[in-house]
């Protein structure tokens, strides 16, 4: 380790960093945006002013292009004068281990002595099955096979535009251990409203200790929203089937133990 590297490592450990262009600490960022004004010198000045106000100084307006008579598109490069304090970043850490499909199968078999039933679909008018299919279809996502591939999971994929009452009825019919719902369309907060309707319907239809694990997924949810949405877990963009399977094992086996403990009078 050279002297210069050693000298900057304490700062990195404390977690204060800047964007990296081509030199440590240069703070360089790029952004693009459109302003509703005709192209010209004044427009370029306006773009630089916006960048300055965003904390970019100096701001280089490297590209300005008219889009019709009333709009101009800009690409700006510049030095951001903000620092990032990594230690102050709040995230939800995964509280369960990632398992391989084989480990998931073994864990389910040992704990439940039957197959774990997963019912999934897209509720409301949302017709985008991309998310639910990525998780459920055997084809999977990001190189991981979907839940249908797991021998000890029984998957019922109900597809798109499912009504909440139908979802609840099918979950009961199939004795679902877990219900996965995907929501992609977010106009007028449809994803939030649909999810609230869904979780309320499950709370109404099941005694608290028998309700299946409720999982919602979609690109515009936040992981920390679970409690306000009335679900057990929120998965967001980039979630793989393996993460969902591992979570299911963790959650259901924890629940199973709690139930057994309660039955034995130890809980």
């Amino acid at each position: 380790m050279s002297a210069s590297e050693r000298s900057r490592s304490p700062a990195a450990q404390q977690g204060v960093i800047r964007p990296y262009g081509d030199t440590t600490g240069d703070g360089m960022v790029q952004l693009s945006f459109t302003l509703p004004m005709p192209h010209g010198k004044r427009a370029e000045g306006a773009a630089a002013q916006l960048a300055n106000k965003m904390g970019i100084d100096p701001a280089l307006v490297v590209h300005a292009k008219p889009m019709g008579p009333d709009f101009t598109f800009f690409v700006v490069y510049g030095r951001a004068n903000h620092l990032v304090d990594v230690s102050a970043v709040e995230i939800l850490e995964r509280e369960y281990p990632l398992l391989t499909p084989k480990e998931v199968n073994v864990a389910v078999k040992r704990a439940l002595r039957r197959r774990l039933v997963v019912v999934g679909g897209c509720i409301g008018t949302d017709a985008h099955t991309v998310g639910i299919d990525a998780i459920l279809n055997i084809k999977g996502f990001a190189g991981e096979k979907g839940l249908e591939y797991y021998r000890e999971l029984r998957v019922v994929n109900l597809g798109a535009q499912l009504s909440v009452p139908d979802l609840v009825a099918r979950a009961k019919e199939e004795s679902a251990d877990a219900v996965l719902v995907s929501q992609v369309v977010t106009q007028r907060n449809a994803h939030i409203l649909n999810t609230l309707e869904m979780s309320a319907a499950f709370r109404e239809a099941y005694p608290a200790d028998q309700r299946p694990v409720l999982i919602i997924g979609g690109p515009r949810f936040e992981e920390r929203q679970a409690a306000t949405l009335g679900v057990d877990r929120v998965f967001t963009r980039g979630t793989t089937p393996g993460e969902v399977a591992s979570y299911l094992v963790h959650e259901l086996i924890t629940r199973e133990r709690a139930t057994h403990a309660a039955k034995r009078g130890l809980g």
């Binding site: 693009s32 945006f33 459109t34 292009k65 889009m67 019709g68 709009f71 598109f73 409301g124 008018t125 949302d126 017709a127 099955t129 991309v130 299919d133 279809n137 084809k139 597809g159 798109a160 535009q161 369309v185 106009q187 007028r188 449809a190 690109p219 963009r237």
Partner: protein, 524 residues
Amino acid sequence: MTPRSRPKIDLDPATVRRARTLARRAGRPIVRLAKQHTTASVERATLRLAGLTGADPDGTPWVNRLVDAARADVGLEHGISLPVWDALVTGQAADLPGLAAAAAAGDVRFRIPAGRDAARAQSASRKQVAAGIRRVDARRRERDRLIARWGDPAHKPWIYLIVATGDIYEDIPQAQAAAREGADIIAVIRSTGQSLIDFVPEGATREGFAGTYATQDNFRLMRAALDESSRQLGRYVRLTNYASGLCMPEIAALAGLERLDMMLNDSMYGILFRDINPVRTFVDQRFSRQVHARAGIIINTGEDNYLTTADAVEAAHTVTVSQLLNEYFAKEAGLEDWQLGLGHAFEIDPAVPDSFRLELAHALLARTLFPKAPLKWMPPTRHMTGDVFRGYLLDGFFNLAGAMTDQDILLVGMMTEAVVTPWLSDRDLALQNVRYVVNAAGRLSEDFVPAPDGFISQRARRVLAESIDLLERILNHENGLLDAIADGTFGLMKRPADAGKGLEGVAKKASGYYNPATVLLEEQ
């Protein structure tokens, strides 16, 4: 369109004939089934052609109120025309709106007329529906006239852009801006839920989810706006909407009446991806395609959907099979080759080795199988990750594949696919991408001749062989395509013929069934 030599793959003509024969054999029993049934929406479309518009104070269209009332009295199996025009000629109301209002109030008793009464009702209904069909004919002639005056785009492929704000009054300036920026075709995406609503909303609408409702007023407003743009730009800008879902026949009729130019209209999409009852879909399909044929509308089929739900390499042959079935059903309904905007898409995982060569093979297979059809080439969506820079490159390759394989309709890909609904700048960048590729390589299709036994040719032949296998598997079912749809042979979804949405709107025709629209559409 200037005729020019199309790039193609060497395919064995006997194999191609075999594929078409199998598609015909799979499709023919479906056509028979479609002829034996009618649906609430087909009957409502007939009333719309007869000129019945508007809705009750709750927003339920009068066509729905009238069909529901008549059906409650006499069922649907004789069609709506006999009971409705019998009530009119016997003086229960002065006209269709009056009759609908009286029927909704419970003041009309419907019956199935017999003998001379039936003949009078038939003749009266035929006269009124014929007037509507003449209006459709007039709109078609008007389109021909405007295209002659303003001209078609000078280039191929035609550039297809989507607007989708939910508010028709926002859509209009966006569509006009898109036309100015270079769009040859504007598609107004429908509100997400519309395919499963069993009525066509009324009026100009400002409230839609991820799209704008298809209504007659919205059609008219947008067509008028694009006529204005066409006049300014000196080229006819086409308008596209969706004849799909539970109201497909009615929307087709409205499209014909309001001079829409293209309609999304797939033979099996509603069944597989919307869980609409198969019989309902096939009956509605046939009627809507007869209307499109008459109206000179180009249909766009939905094969891209097979590739967004299944792997684009493994499922490549499902696209070909669907194209062959769509072609058979379309021609049976009277559509001509120039009206068959058969769909396909650039959806292979870019991480797959030789993915671009595979895309070229699939695109050329479609080009070779359907040399006269205006093929619709759809951009990557499934492997657009949010990395807009990578997405822009992928869209460039999509455009290049389209240019090299001489596609006719190019749906412009957005680098912000899967991120946001397209921004002004996204559309501008996307059009720059298309323009660069078309300008740089648009005529490459003349030089691009894949080696006869090279990777691309072999791959295309293999997909065709797999398509034939799948068609044979479909035909091996006792009830052919219907059973295959039921057991999930086609697509991954199991859709039995006695389930699905809209089943309650299907009726088996009685021997005295009469529908003037069908009669008139089938006369030519």
